[in-house]
C-alpha cells in the first residue's frame, strides 16, 4: 500500500493537539488566567501520540509513495522525541509563568517542533528530511526569541535564525548535487546507485555529501559549525534551552544516520575521514572551552557540544554497536540533560538571575535533595558508573575500538577525563563552599518535581539495567541498511 494515512497518526495527533491548544488559548484567554489547562492538554497530546506510535505496526512500512517510512528505528526516535518534549513541558510550566511568557503558543510550538523531528526520523527521501528539519528549526527560532521584551532573547533568536538559515542553504545545495548526480532523492535508490558505482567517485557527489555534512553538522552543533551554540543557549529561555539541547540534536543524528548509513552506507570510507576530524574537534573544543565558563547555561552549552562529539565517534565507527549505542546515549542524554536544566530552572529567579556557577555554593546544606539530584546528573554526564552516561560512553568507545578506530577511542576517553573537571567542579562548589547567597524560599511546582524524579529514575535505571533498552536499540537499527 503506498498511501496509508494511519502511518502518520502520531504526527496527526500532535498537530491536532497543537492547534487545539492555540484555539483553547484564544477562546478562554481571560477565564483561564493560570493556563494550567494548556499544559495538561499538551501533555495529554504527547501521551496519546506516544501510545499511538507504540501501537503502530512492528514491521517496516512505507507510505506516501515510499517517501515516508515507519520502522522500528523511527518508532524508537518517536518515543524519544515525545519523552523529551513531555519532560520539557513539565519543567516549563512554572518557568514560563515566572518569566511572564505564559502564552499558549509556547506549547503549540513545542509540539510543532516535535512533529518536525518525527518527520526527520522517518523520512525515506531527502525531501521529507529537509521539510522535517525546517519545521523543527523554524519553531525553535520562535521559541528562542520567546521573551520578546528581553534584548538577550531577541539577540539569541536573531543569531540562531541567521546562522540556521545559512546552514540550510548549504544543506539544500548538498541535496541538489546529490540529486543531480544520482538522479533521485530517495535514500534507497541513492544507495543502490552508490553501490552500483562501487562507492562515491564523482566529485560532484562527494561535494554534495560534504555539504550535507555541513548542514547537519550545524544542527548537531559539531565544532567548526558551533559558533551559535553558547550564545543561543544562554539567551534563550532556560526551558527552551533544555528543549533544544536534546530534541533537535537527537533528530539531527537520526537524519544523519539514516542518510549516511542507508544512502551512503556502501561508501563509508569517503565520509568517515571527514566525520573523524569533526568528532575529534567537537569533543576537544567543547570540553576544553567548557572549563573556563562561569555561567551554568554556557557551561552546559559547551558540554552539549562535547556530547555531540561523542555521538559522532559512534557515527565514525558505523557498526551495529555504535549505532545502537548512539540511540542509547541519546536516551540517556535526555534524562541527564533535562534533569540538570530542571534544577537550573528551580534555582534561578525571575529574569534568569542566579545562573552563575558560584551561585550554587552551599546548595548541599540548604537543599540536600536538589544537590543530590544535580550531583547525579553531573556524574552521569561525566561518565561515572553506575549512571546512564557511563554505559552510553562505554558502548560508543567500544564500538570505535571494534571498528579499528583505537586512536579515536583514546582521544574520546581523554576528553571524557577532561570533562570530569568541570562537572565535578559544580559538585565541589555545592558541597564544599559556604553559601554566598541566601537561597530564597524556592517555589517548586509539583510538575517540575515529577520531571526531576523521572530524570533521576531514568538516569539510574539506564545505568544499572541497560540491557533491556540496549536490546530495543539493537532491534531498532536493523532496518537502517
Amino acid at each position: 500500500m503506498t498511501f496509508n494515512i494511519l502511518s502518520i497518526l502520531p504526527i496527526l495527533v500532535l498537530a491536532g493537539f497543537g492547534m487545539l491548544v492555540l484555539v483553547v488559548d484564544v477562546m478562554s484567554a481571560r477565564k483561564l488566567g493560570e493556563k494550567n489547562l494548556l499544559a495538561y492538554l499538551s501533555l495529554a497530546g504527547i501521551v496519546i501520540a506516544a501510545i499511538v506510535s507504540r501501537n503502530s505496526t512492528a514491521t517496516t512500512l512505507f507510505s506516501f509513495n515510499e517517501t515516508f517510512t515507519i520502522d522500528n528505528y523511527a518508532l524508537f526516535f518517536n518515543i524519544l522525541f515525545l519523552l523529551s518534549t513531555g519532560l520539557v513541558i513539565l519543567i516549563s510550566h512554572s518557568y514560563i509563568k515566572r518569566e511572564d511568557i505564559n502564552h499558549g503558543e509556547y506549547y503549540a510550538l513545542l509540539m510543532f517542533s516535535t512533529i518536525g523531528m518525527m518527520l526527520m526520523a522517518s523520512g525515506a527521501d531527502l525531501l521529507n528530511i529537509f521539510i522535517g528539519l525546517e519545521v523543527m528549526s523554524i519553531s525553535i527560532y520562535i521559541l528562542t526569541g520567546f521573551k520578546r521584551s528581553k534584548l538577550i532573547s531577541n539577540e539569541a533568536s536573531l543569531k540562531y535564525f541567521l546562522l540556521g538559515a545559512f546552514a540550510t542553504g548549504f544543506l539544500l545545495y548538498g541535496i541538489s548535487l546529490v540529486y543531480g548526480t544520482t538522479g533521485t532523492i530517495d535514500l534507497r535508490q541513492i544507495a543502490s546507485f552508490v553501490a552500483g558505482k562501487g562507492g562515491v567517485k564523482d566529485p560532484l557527489l562527494l561535494m554534495g555529501m560534504g555539504l550535507i555534512i555541513v548542514g547537519l553538522g550545524f544542527k548537531v552543533a559539531s565544532v567548526p559549525f558551533h559558533a551559535w551554540v553558547p550564545d543561543v543557549y544562554e539567551g534563550a529561555p532556560t526551558a527552551v534551552t533544555a528543549f533544544m539541547s536534546v530534541g533537535p540534536k537527537a533528530a539531527a543524528f537520526a537524519a544523519f544516520m539514516r542518510i549516511f548509513l542507508t544512502a551512503f552506507g556502501s561508501s563509508h570510507y569517503e565520509w568517515q575521514k571527514a566525520i573523524w576530524i569533526l568528532a575529534v574537534l567537537t569533543m576537544t573544543v567543547g570540553n576544553v572551552v567548557a572549563i573556563s565558563q562561569t555561567n551554568i547555561k554556557r557551561m552546559l552549552a559547551y558540554s552539549s557540544i562535547a556530547h555531540a562529539g561523542y555521538l559522532l565517534v559512534a557515527l565514525v565507527a558505523a557498526n551495529n554497536m555504535g549505532v545502537s549505542g548512539t540511540l542509547f546515549y541519546l536516551l540517556a542524554y535526555i534524562f541527564m540533560n533535562i534533569g540538570a536544566f530542571a534544577i537550573v530552572i528551580v534555582l534561578s529567579q525571575k529574569g534568569d538571575v542566579g545562573m552563575n556557577i558560584d551561585d550554587y555554593a552551599g546548595l548541599g546544606f540548604k537543599h540536600p535533595m536538589l544537590a543530590i539530584a544535580m550531583t547525579l546528573f553531573m556524574f552521569s554526564m561525566a561518565g561515572i558508573p553506575p549512571m546512564a552516561g557511563f554505559v552510553g560512553k562505554f558502548y560508543i568507545f567500544s564500538a570505535a575500538i571494534k571498528s579499528g578506530y583505537v586512536g579515536l577511542a583514546i582521544i574520546g576517553v581523554i576528553n571524557s577525563v577532561i570533562s570530569v573537571y568541570y562537572y565535578l567542579r559544580i559538585t565541589v562548589i555545592m558541597y564544599m563552599k559556604e553559601p554566598v547567597r541566601d537561597f530564597h524560599p524556592l517555589t517548586i511546582s509539583p510538575l517540575i518535581v515529577v520531571a526531576i524524579a523521572i530524570a533521576v529514575v531514568g538516569t539510574l535505571h539506564l545505568g544499572i539495567f541497560p540491557s533491556k533498552v540496549m536490546e530495543i536499540a539493537q532491534r531498532s537499527i536493523l532496518t537502517l541498511r
Binding site: K150, F161, L162, A165, F166
Partner: protein, 100 residues
Amino acid sequence: MITITHYLVLSAILFMLGVVGVLIRRNAIVIFMCIELMLNAVNISFVAFAYHLHSMQGQMFVFFTMTVAAAEAAVGLAIIVAVFRNKETVNIDDMNIMKW
C-alpha cells in the same frame, strides 16, 4: 547552445554571491536577503537537474524550497522587527551582549 553546465555555473555563482554577502554585510536584513539568494540559487540547480534528468522530483523540491523560504521570511522578519523594537538597530556588529 545553453547546456546544463551553464545553469550549474550560474547557480554556483549566485550561491557564492549569497555566501560572500552573508559573510561581509553587516545589516541583518541584507544578510537575510543574501540567504534567500542562496536558496534560490539552489532552486536553479534543482530545475536544471530535473530538466536534464527528465525527472519530476527536482521540480517538486523547488516548490517545497519556496514554501520553506516563505515561512523562514515570515519568522525571520518578525525576529528582526523584535530586535529593532528593543535596540533600534539591525546592525549585527551591535549584537554583542553575549561574549565568551
